[in-house]
Amino acid sequence: MAPYIEIKNLSKHYGDLKAVDGLSMQVMPGDIYGFLGPNGSGKSTTIRMLLSLIRPTSGQILLFGHDLAVDRYQTLGRVGALIEKPDFYNYLSARKNLEILGKLSKVRNLNSRIDEVLDMVGLLPRAKSVVRTFSLGMKQRLGIAQALLHKPDLIILDEPTNGLDPQGQKEIRDLVKSLSQESNITILISSHILFEIEQIANRMVIINKGKALVEGNVHDLINGDDRQVTYIVDNSDSVRSILPGSAWEPKFQKSSPDRVWFRITKEEIPMLTAYLIEKGIRIYAIEPVRSLEDFFLQLTENETIN
């Protein structure tokens, strides 16, 4: 089956700035595809190019096997999108907003479909309320409702949990998962939070400075063998003194007065813990940091420093 999204060597330059730089990726039917990257990494620019809001400098975008530059109308009719913050005609009601968007998408039986999607996102009782009176969470849900209105095969969500409280974030994540499972909709979701992608997506790509760094199955990437584990102990010197000559010596990385870092596999965590306890080390906590998380943290930390 052809990928729903196929991006080939996509670039967008603003003068000397390379917002997206030779990006390639594929989203297969049925995927919840995580599009992860720190702020300013080129996620939104890529998504805007996918939706023909921005013209690429070079490269090709295929949606459902059709070239977006050639078959824009045919392809966009099968795509629903929520880009960045959910903006609507604030002076109109939720229903009126959906009515306008439904007419643009030529939705059949529009009124009943509006009821359906509003009900799906829990906004049916507020259908007649003016959008100006909605909270950010409600607007976000209305954003998802408009993306679902024309029964798309593919939904593109750009940071849909931005600005929401933890409860709101969880609601959106649950909604996304149920859309994929119950309605069999393929979803591309961007985020700068690894945890969020880990919770929702089955495949993902990490991008930075407009380039894809890692792409693959979320489970494989997150649960890779290599991980750094931090042991919080009463005295790190006592740990260092028992290591020479042991099997754990090569796995030792660094230490601080109350912390010791090892690079070990998931299976080795209980073995090392047992060894340390046996040697009389008092362990207060064990904090595994997965390699991908470590890698992503480095990216985002660099971003913060920059």
Binding site: L53, I83, Y89
Partner: protein, 278 residues
């Protein structure tokens, strides 16, 4: 296309700012009509002071046509502001509120969107002018009734009431053409901006600016003055010339059409390629 236009019209007439134009016209016309009703005799006596030594004026000089002429003179600067208030917001307003992101990700042609938005704004302009005609006529009829009209330009002419309807009709049609030019310019500025204030202020600034520069530096700008559309904003007065012929206004109409087409097609070309970053 028809659906796109009806959507745009719905959006225009759902915004409170749209009614500012109608409200302002109602207030201004009412104030002029009532003001002339109360103080019109004194005002006309002052204007005709020099002429009354040589002429005897009989009949109703202050009538619905005369007041209509005064209204046309007064509103040529107000109406562009009211037109720009809506047309300057048509594209910039969507960019400012971020709603381009939800409409341009639908299977909608940008060209059709630009045309339908323009037509909706144009229809608003038309309705504004029709409202102005209607209000001016109704108030004039109630307060003054019909009569012959005295026109004072470089000469004094009296135009009979039976010869006035077509002149007013043509003057208003020409006024509508000028306001279409203003609307198209405002629309063009709206495409360039992501904020409605810019196009609205920009339109007014350009009209007033060019008019002032044309007046102050008339001798300096003489060679280019015939190419400014603002030079012809008051050409509707030509329809009240007793020896009016179409050739007197044809160049003025041509210039307005050239500006309308130029602004519209530049907007179309620019917006088709525009990256939506808002």
């Amino acid at each position: 296309m028809r659906q796109l236009i009806s959507i745009e019209l719905y959006k225009i007439f759902s915004k409170p700012r749209t009614y500012i134009g109608f409200g302002a016209i109602f207030v201004i016309i009412s104030a002029i009509e009532i003001g002339i009703k109360i103080k019109g005799d004194d005002m006309f006596a002052m204007i005709l002071q020099n002429l009354s030594d040589r002429f005897i004026f009989e009949g109703k000089l202050i009538n619905m046509y005369g007041v209509g002429y005064v209204i046309l003179n007064t509103l040529w600067i107000h109406v562009p502001i009211l037109v720009a208030l809506v047309t300057g917001d048509l594209l910039a307003g969507e960019a400012n509120s971020g709603t381009f992101r939800i409409i341009l990700t639908r299977p909608v042609s940008r060209v059709k969107l630009i045309i339908s938005k323009f037509l909706a704004g144009w229809l608003y302009t038309f309705l504004l002018i029709v409202f102005m005609i209607f209000l001016s006529a109704v108030w004039g009829w109630i307060l003054f009734g019909p009569g012959d009209m005295l026109v004072m330009t470089t000469k004094v002419s009296i135009i009979g009431s039976d010869d006035l309807i077509w002149r007013f009709g043509c003057a208003y049609m020409y006024g509508f053409l000028c306001m279409t030019t203003v609307a198209t310019m405002s629309y063009f500025l709206s495409a360039l901006s992501d904020n409605s204030i810019g196009p609205i202020i920009g339109t007014i600034a350009l009209i007033i600016g060019i008019t002032v520069i044309s007046t102050v530096g008339a001798s300096l700008l003489k060679p280019v003055l015939p190419y400014f559309f603002t030079t012809y904003l008051t050409s509707w007065q030509k329809f009240f010339n007793t020896e009016f012929t179409f050739s007197m206004i044809s160049h003025d109409i041509l210039i307005q059409f050239i500006y309308i087409l130029a602004f519209f097609f530049i907007t179309l070309f620019y917006f088709r390629k525009k990256d939506i970053l808002s």
